[in-house]
């Protein structure tokens, strides 16, 4: 019963919104009052006035919590009231930066919801919208999730206009386009598809536009949620869209011909299409000196291998290939495992689970009781578990090593991806030793090489080959990075 009532109300609202602005000011007021549920709604303001000079009746509509009342007072009300000349246009009276003429009630409401102020005038079937929006938000902060030693520190904030500003600051180019799009009908959030017109591939761009047009979610809070909508393989372990909070990174990708999506309420940007390598790289690799940057890359590669393979290799070697270990080490492992009642596989899985628990708990715990987690984790899971013969000391080392290494990959999605593949390898190693690991590895490779991000092969330009600046596993001198990545098919391949 209530449902039906709601539906009726909704469709009625929609009808109202489609109406043209009536010439009678009383009718307009009635519409507005109904749409905004006045006077229950407290921050929606209707300010009646007589226009100076012509003494026409008019009213201003705005939401005082999201608009700048100082602008409304100084630049709208004052000039409108004090005007003497009846022949003057409204555009010539008020002194706000942007004025738009609108014709329907729906548009008026939409503009008001964005923080703008609307002027309705008796006898006129159009109204004026003045930009007076003032949304509150954080100041520009330091990047907290993607830390660098050298290079810029600023990060995106929740206000999209600030983010646009940050990107424009880095690319002063008339071809840099911020194309507005609105995804969710109800939440009406602003979203910008950002690209450099003479670099970005039109086909990919159209694909992104189509994808955005296709989705029509009831609400869309922010980019983290949009990421799932935009992802072509939402079930995949491996991410295919890069989420970054660093404007310098976004600008770098824009200059290569990628597409960046910015959105209101999101202190980040989405970059697409991207490849596997984008997730492995950190901006610091470029900012540090060539040798050190590459050293860090090398370290990261090792860390990935350690994360994926150490625990699994331990299980495989102790269960199936014990002849491989040098005899002394084998004796040492055997001696510590002697008192432990569980098979190596269970032991490793228990410790991995414990490590993941500490990680997750450490993340969610309120900061005043944070240190407790460290003590509990280190003491109980490290020392006491060994003393109680639940796990052997070498397992603690193995798991700690692989857990620690996993955090060398900065990107949060790729970090999760790598940590979850580890589990597949451990189980396979427990069942089939190194044979199982090789099988899982081959399966993973078959999967990765066929994965695509908006038509771009995931492992490009490594395989299949494309010409690029060879910034894959290692980077070269920046002077030698003469090409944009060919696999994203930029309009201009050579950097100038």
């Amino acid at each position: 019963m209530f449902h039906r009532q709601d539906k009726k109300n909704n469709s009625k609202d929609k009808d109202l919104k489609n109406n043209k602005i009536p010439s009678s000011l009383n009718d307009t007021t009635a519409y507005i009052k109904e749409l905004y549920h006045l006077p229950i709604n407290k921050d929606v303001m209707i300010r009646d006035l007589f226009l100076g000079g012509s003494t026409k009746k008019a009213f201003l509509l705005f939401i005082n919590t999201i608009s700048d009342t100082k602008i409304i007072e100084d630049s709208l009300l004052q000039p409108l009231l004090q005007n003497k000349d009846p022949l003057k246009n409204i555009e010539d009276i008020v002194c706000v930066s942007s004025i738009e003429e609108i014709c329907t009630i729906g548009e008026a409401v939409q503009e008001t919801n964005k923080g703008n102020t609307i002027l309705f005038i008796e006898g006129s079937t159009s109204a004026y919208s003045f930009s007076t929006a003032k949304f509150l938000g954080r100041n520009i902060d330091k990047a907290e999730d993607e830390v660098t030693l050298k290079g810029p520190k600023e990060a995106f904030t929740e206000t999209v206009m600030t983010n646009v500003n940050l990107v424009r600051k880095k690319i002063k180019d008339e071809n840099l386009i911020f194309e507005a799009a609105t995804v969710s009908e109800r939440a009406n959030n602003t979203l910008f598809i950002t690209y450099i017109k003479d670099l970005t591939n039109e086909e990919t761009l159209q694909k992104v536009r189509d994808k955005l047009n296709q989705l029509n979610p009831a609400t869309l809070q922010n980019l983290s949620i949009l990421e799932e909508y935009m992802d072509e393989n939402p079930h995949s372990i491996f991410p295919t869209i890069l989420y970054t909070e660093r404007p310098d990174r976004a600008a770098g990708y824009l200059n290569d011909g990628h597409i960046v999506i910015l959105m209101e309420n999101s202190p980040a940007s989405l970059i697409l299409p991207v490849t596997f390598w984008s997730f492995i790289h950190s901006p610091d690799d470029q900012y540090l000196r060539l040798v050190f940057g590459n050293f860090v890359r090398f370290l990261r590669a090792i860390a990935i291998f350690v994360t994926i393979f150490t625990s699994a290799a331990y299980v495989a070697v102790t269960n199936y290939h014990s002849s491989m270990i040098p005899p002394d080490l084998l004796m040492a492992i055997a001696a510590t495992r002697e008192k432990v009642p569980f098979p190596a596989l269970v032991e490793i899985l228990v410790m991995e689970l414990a490590f993941e628990l500490i990680r997750e708990a450490g993340l969610r715990v309120p900061s005043p009781i944070g240190p407790t987690i460290g003590i509990v984790g280190a003491l109980i899971l490290g020392q006491s578990a060994v003393q109680a013969n639940i796990v052997s000391p070498i397992v603690v080392i193995v798991v700690a090593l692989s857990g620690l290494s996993s955090f060398v990959v900065g990107d949060i999605s790729m970090n999760f991806a790598i940590r979850s593949t580890r589990i597949f390898f451990i189980v396979a190693a427990g069942m089939f030793g190194i044979y199982g690991m090789a099988v899982v590895f081959a399966a993973g490779m078959f999967y990765l090489v066929t994965l695509k991000s908006y038509g771009v092969p995931y492992l490009a330009p490594f395989t299949p080959k494309y010409s690029s600046s060879k910034n894959v596993m290692f980077r070269r001198l920046i002077q030698k990075e003469a090409y944009r990545p060919e696999h994203i098919k930029p309009k201009d391949l050579i950097k100038k």
Binding site: M324, F432, Y435, V439, F446, T463, P464
Partner: protein, 364 residues
């Protein structure tokens, strides 16, 4: 599903080298050591001349017809009916080879590394993963081959270097083993390597151009011959000709024999790379088999056949009892059975192509 597949030159070369080069790790070398003793390593080298001629025929035939791979060529040159039979023959030969080879390798894995794991489980897992690769297509297999190519090569070079430094140079003598004539006679049989090069002809249209196919095939040919020769020399230097004749899988004995610094047993270091190579090889085989089958019976979405064929391979492969002893015999018989037809198909194709293009020229 994407039916039009493409593969880059790098991926093609990596795939070819892994597919054919991995032969040195099974019992292929032993077949020659048994008959040729010390001079076995000359067999691939001497047969290289013959293979080069055949490969030249194959490449020049494919180059004459744009956008036609080996299967198309056979259909256009042999005609609808004889072509069908020729492809059926090639398909049957490859399918049998796949069954026997997978059985041999599974037996190898289970006897050398996993004596307690049931052979069926190993076999089944192997075919599941190869099937997954074949289902993803030759592009996926080729890219994977390229991705691990560097590691496989490094592992192989390391193993060969260590082996040669461990070995005795004197074991190479007497140089000609059983004498000149047997060497030449057996070398002619060593052209089996060509069989697989012929099947690579099916991939020729997936490469960017026929020129790439030409370049790739010659590189594969050169690398594989060198690789196998070097490996056989190193086996000989470790074991000498008498004891090597008693072995089944010399490569695996070799990597058990050698040691690297403080690591006494390094075989497990080489084992995973070898396994991935194996998966790539059989995955590619399986893809070629379903592709040919699809062409024979006009099945457009041939990749959907992969699961059926994978399972079929497992069930046919576990039939032989005492696989360690029976399979090599079956295989050597199969080799004798396939060598002459594959060679004659190549030569016939070349001759027919010559006539056909000449006829066209006259007409013009």
């Amino acid at each position: 599903m994407e039916t039009k597949q493409s593969i880059g030159l790098r991926e093609f070369i990596a795939l070819g080298i892994i597919m054919i080069g991995i032969k040195l790790t099974d019992d292929t070398p032993i077949i020659y050591f048994k008959k040729l003793a010390n001079s076995a390593w000359m067999a691939p080298l001497l047969s290289a001349g013959m293979i080069a001629v055949l490969l030249y025929f194959l490449i020049s035939t494919t180059e004459k017809f744009d956008n036609q791979n080996l299967v198309d060529l056979i259909f256009t040159l042999f005609g609808k009916y004889i072509g069908w039979i020729a492809i059926l023959y090639l398909w049957a030969a490859l399918f049998t080879a796949l069954i026997i080879d997978t059985a041999i390798y599974t037996d190898l894995i289970s006897t050398m590394y996993f004596p307690n794991t049931p052979m069926f489980a190993i076999y089944f897992l192997m075919m599941v993963i190869c099937g997954f690769g074949a289902y993803k297509g030759i592009q996926a297999i080729g890219s994977t081959a390229w991705a691990i190519f560097l590691y496989i090569t490094v592992a192989l070079i390391c193993a060969l270097l260590i082996t040669i430094t461990h070995g005795q140079f004197d074991f190479l003598f007497p140089f000609l083993g059983n004498g000149t004539w047997p060497v030449i006679k057996e070398s002619l049989k060593a052209i089996t390597i060509y069989d697989e090069l012929l099947y690579l002809g099916i991939l020729s249209t997936m490469l960017p151009s026929k020129k790439d196919f030409k370049k790739g095939s010659w590189i594969i040919f050169g690398v594989v011959i060198t690789e196998i020769t070097l490996a056989m020399i190193s086996f000989l230097m470790i074991f000498d000709y008498k004891s090597i004749q008693l072995l089944s899988y010399p490569w695996h004995e070799v990597i058990r024999y050698i040691s690297l610094g403080f690591l006494q047993n390094v075989e497990t270091l080489f084992f995973p790379f070898w396994l991935v190579g194996l998966i790539i090889r059989f995955g590619a085989y399986l893809y070629l088999i379903v592709y040919m089958f699809g062409r024979l019976f006009n099945i457009k979405e041939f990749q959907l056949l992969v699961p059926i064929f994978s399972i079929l391979v497992v069930f046919l492969g576990v039939i032989p009892e005492q696989p360690t002893f029976t399979l090599p015999i079956i295989r050597s018989k199969l080799i004798m059975f396939t060598v002459i037809p594959t060679c004659s198909i190549t030569v016939l194709l070349w001759v027919l192509a010559k006539f056909k293009t000449r006829g066209k020229k006259h007409a013009n």
